[in-house]
């Protein structure tokens, strides 16, 4: 893997990002906004799944929230990759970064499993299953954000 990280961080794009002022600032800002939208939107659906706002139908809510959260996740992954490549080898060696990637994989696997099974019609799951899905989703995505934020404060 060391060769991959080295190739990434010596690429023209990585060097450009790494030495710029406002490009780096812009990508970092985009990353924060994407995460805010991802967590904010997914939390609304998760709260519904857990049992809040029982008067609100789950399916129309999911039809709004899931594409928004998916777009936000895509933006977060792209901006995150651009922030990563500047110091790929260093970040790849951080325990918290590895934990974050593992948590993203777990959160994605959970999400994909749920939607493969139920599509967006989450009311087909039992109330107990929905609550479990909601709790797992909240915990995993929050843990992703927390582990990512802590990289700057623990490693360095």
């Amino acid at each position: 893997m060391a060769a991959v990280w080295s190739a990434l961080q010596t690429s023209d794009l990585a060097v450009w990002i790494n030495l710029s002022r406002w490009l780096y600032a812009g990508i970092a800002t985009a990353h924060v906004l994407a995460i805010a939208l991802l967590i904010g939107s997914i939390l609304i659906l998760d709260l519904r799944l857990v049992g809040f706002a029982a008067w609100l139908d789950t399916t129309p809510l999911a039809r709004l929230v899931v594409p928004v959260a998916g777009t936000a996740l895509g933006c977060a992954i792209v901006s995150g990759f651009l922030l990563f490549i500047g110091r790929a080898a260093q970040y790849a060696g951080f325990g918290l970064f590895q934990l974050k990637i593992a948590l993203i994989a777990a959160a994605l696997a959970t999400t994909l499993t749920v939607h493969r099974r139920y599509g967006l019609r989450l009311e087909r799951a039992t109330a107990r299953q929905r609550a479990r899905i909601g709790i797992a989703s909240i915990c995993l995505w929050l843990a992703v954000a927390v582990s990512g934020r802590m990289i700057a404060f623990v490693h360095g």
Binding site: L19, S20, L47, V50, G51, A131, G134, I135, A152, F153
Partner: protein
């Protein structure tokens, strides 16, 4: 509704638990507030965003010196290649509050007699 109250408690506990582990790194909260001076030879330089880090051998003691982002180093008058392996450097800055950490955040530095001020607003 009982179940949702429990799950909110779980989430709240998770968030609270995560805050305790924070150890500041950016900014100045992790430093002592007083300045020290470190003189030595740069043995490694990693420059670029989010900020540069030098490894400095100060007569056998290895210090990690945090310098600026590219724009801050450039504003101080540093040129490409000024901070590189083998260069002798004198740093004035705030050390980590945990002195065993051997980390210092540079406020200004000297290459030879020339002064480069990274943080003009700090003494």
């Amino acid at each position: 509704m009982q179940r949702s109250i429990w799950s909110l408690l779980v989430v709240g506990a998770l968030m609270l638990g995560s805050v305790g582990a924070a150890m500041a790194h950016h900014g100045w909260r992790w430093t002592t507030g007083g300045n020290i001076e470190v003189t030595g030879i740069i043995t490694a330089a990693q420059l670029g965003n989010p900020h540069g880090v030098l490894t400095v051998d100060a007569e056998g003691e290895v210090w990690r010196v945090e310098v600026g982002q590219p724009w801050r180093n450039e504003r101080a008058g540093l040129k490409d290649g000024d901070l590189k392996k083998g260069v002798e450097i004198r740093i004035i800055g705030e050390p980590s509050a945990d002195i065993k950490d051997k980390r210092v955040k540079a406020e200004r530095l000297y290459l030879g007699d020339k002064e480069y001020t990274l943080y003009p607003e700090r003494d």
